[in-house]
């Protein structure tokens, strides 16, 4: 009797404590994820109540879709550029901002500001800058680089996307790098300085090895955000001109919701998931290995 009562008590508590989270998590994340895999093997069009299985039909359609591949390659290029530039700039800012500098907190807060504001708003802010402010400057100063709006030129529009993304995330990653830099023992750097190590050597031999955990986190975050970017893409260029800047998330959205091709859309999304998962896991694995070697 006694143990029965205790067991009931335990079950009740487990339900009370984990029930809400588990119910919502499984109905919002797990169920749609599994259903999504199923959906990618069907010919569902978004409206009909029934659908039939077509095996790998959607996947082969996606793999033969030139538009999808060009947006995928573009996304890879975009991720490569933004991850590299964001991390270099964020690290440089962080490096300049550590040490006894007056107004340090103010500067730090200032560089972080773009991260408080949504991608849609940031995209519109920069749309104004690129199409109005920079063109006026270009004309009045005679700079041909800015004479026409970057957003109406397929090549430059891509770089406009990169600039806005790097601009936004540099401040975020800077905060993480600053935390990493603060954890390096001061004596170590001072000792190296006294021994006559140049500032370049100090960065390479002491600062960077200590920063490996921060670098892992920052690269992980920038890679993930790079693959999933949608808001800035939509607000800044809406994929244009001539689809030259439609990144993969936008492609998934357009395939599924605008062309009503839900099966192929889901197949694209699942492909995106596999790529992101593979890259994230490899990166975490390589990072961990690096950490142990230290």
């Amino acid at each position: 009797m006694r143990t029965d009562k205790r067991r009931w008590e335990q079950t009740k508590n487990a339900l009370l404590f984990m029930g809400p989270s588990l119910l919502i998590f499984s109905t919002v994340m797990v169920l749609p994820f599994l259903f999504g895999i199923l959906l990618s093997f069907t010919d569902w069009n978004g409206l009909s109540a029934t659908f039939s299985f077509i095996g790998f039909g959607n996947y082969s359609e996606v793999f033969h879709d030139k538009v999808f591949w060009s947006s995928f390659v573009l996304t890879l290029k975009y991720v490569l550029c933004t991850v590299t530039l964001t991390n270099i700039i964020a690290f440089s800012l962080a490096y300049l901002l550590t040490g006894n500098l007056r107004g340090r907190n103010f500067l730090k807060a200032g560089f972080f500001t773009p991260n408080l504001i949504g991608g849609i708003i940031l995209g519109f802010v920069w749309q104004f800058v690129f199409s109005r402010v920079l063109t006026t400057m270009g004309k009045s100063l005679g700079w041909s680089l800015f004479a026409t709006s970057w957003l109406s030129d397929p090549d430059k529009a891509f770089w406009a996307m990169v600039i806005v993304t790097v601009w936004q995330y540099s401040g975020y990653m800077m905060v993480i790098y600053i935390a990493g830099l603060m954890s390096i023992p001061k004596e170590l750097i001072e000792a190296a300085e006294i021994e006559g190590a140049s500032s370049f050597t100090r960065v390479r031999k002491i600062v960077l090895p200590f920063l490996v955990p921060s670098i892992i986190v920052c690269v992980f975050l920038t890679v993930q955000r790079g693959f999933m970017v949608y808001d800035i893409n939509l607000a800044l260029t809406s994929g244009g001109p001539f689809r030259s800047t439609a990144l993969i998330s936008m492609n998934v959205y357009q395939t599924a919701f605008l062309s009503q091709r839900y099966g192929p859309g889901q197949a694209e999304a699942f492909f995106l998931f596999l790529v992101v998962a593979a890259i994230s896991l490899t990166q975490v694995y390589l990072g961990k290995k690096q950490e142990i070697e230290l």
Partner: protein
């Protein structure tokens, strides 16, 4: 003291002074460079602010010139056309409700997961951690299909429900990491004194989780307040729109009225800046804590 040694001492202080001067100069240059960078960094916002006071013709003529007069007409018109207060209210309710439930449910779940070890619990925890790398795009189509078919779209509460679902894994992960480090002694003492598990959690454990709760709240507020894609799929009626949504549709409708658009942007940015002024310290430390994991 001989004259000779006096000279050496003098030289040494000179060298020290020289070194200090160099350091100070270095710091001054650094500060100057960083300040200029910051101004350039924030220039886009400044441009938007300056131009939001001008009539359209003036903006098109020269966006770099300061406005000739402070004119609030753009703001009053945009305020009305965007249904600004309405959108602000929707954003506020959705964000607060989602964040409160995420923090509450996730802390309780993480507590149970840590304190009652079993294979099932480990599996649940691992599933949650693994789910963090799933991009939203891989979920959105089936999510809409499922919730659309049971008529749960177009409601703020469905959106809150979904945010709780998407926010759970990260929050559980954060709380899990922290609770593991809390010693059992206090809880055991409280149990002996006759506290029930619920009382132990709310009276003893939850107050200890304050710093993690702060981190979870900050990261989730930034995410939910600014999110666009999910609400754009769920909230269909114009009056249910959140701020990013109403800004987006406002832009679609008034593409040529720069003054109005810029005033709209300024108004959506202002609440965030005000919030930032009060909570800047917490935000920066919250980001740091959230990323170290």
């Amino acid at each position: 003291m001989s004259e000779n040694s006096m000279v050496t001492v003098g030289r040494r202080t000179n060298a020290v002074a020289g070194y200090r001067f160099q350091k100070k100069l270095g710091a001054a240059i650094k500060l100057a460079v960083l300040s200029i960078l910051l101004v350039l960094f924030l220039a886009p916002f400044l441009m938007v602010l300056i131009n939001s006071f001008k009539p359209d013709a003036e903006i098109i003529l020269d966006p770099l010139r300061l406005p000739t007069s402070l004119r609030f007409q753009n703001f009053t018109v945009a305020f009305e056309k965007m249904h600004f207060l309405n959108a602000l209210y929707n954003s506020f309710i959705i964000t607060v409700a989602s964040v409160v439930f995420i923090a509450l449910f996730s802390s309780m779940c993480a507590y149970a997961l840590v304190r009652r070890k079993s294979r099932g619990h480990t599996a649940i925890y691992l599933a949650m951690v693994a789910s963090m790398i799933v991009p939203f795009q891989a979920i959105m189509i089936p999510l809409l299909k499922i919730y659309g078919s049971i008529g749960m779209l177009n409601s703020a509460w469905s959106l809150v429900y979904m945010y709780i679902g998407f926010g759970t894994s990260f929050a559980v992960f954060m709380y899990h990491g922290f609770i593991k480090g809390i010693s059992l002694e206090l809880e055991e003492a409280a149990t002996i004194d006759g506290c029930s598990t619920i009382e132990v959690f709310f009276l003893i454990v939850l107050p200890l989780l304050q710093s993690t709760t702060m981190t979870v709240i900050i990261l989730d507020v930034l995410w939910i307040w600014n999110d666009f894609l999910l609400p754009s799929l769920v909230l269909l009626a114009p009056l249910k729109r959140t701020l990013p949504l109403s800004t987006f549709y406002f832009y679609g409708t008034y593409t040529v009225n720069y003054g109005l658009l810029l005033a709209g942007l300024v108004m959506t940015i202002i609440p965030v800046v005000v919030f930032y002024l009060f909570s800047q310290r917490y935000i920066i430390s919250g980001i740091t804590a959230g990323s170290i994991k």
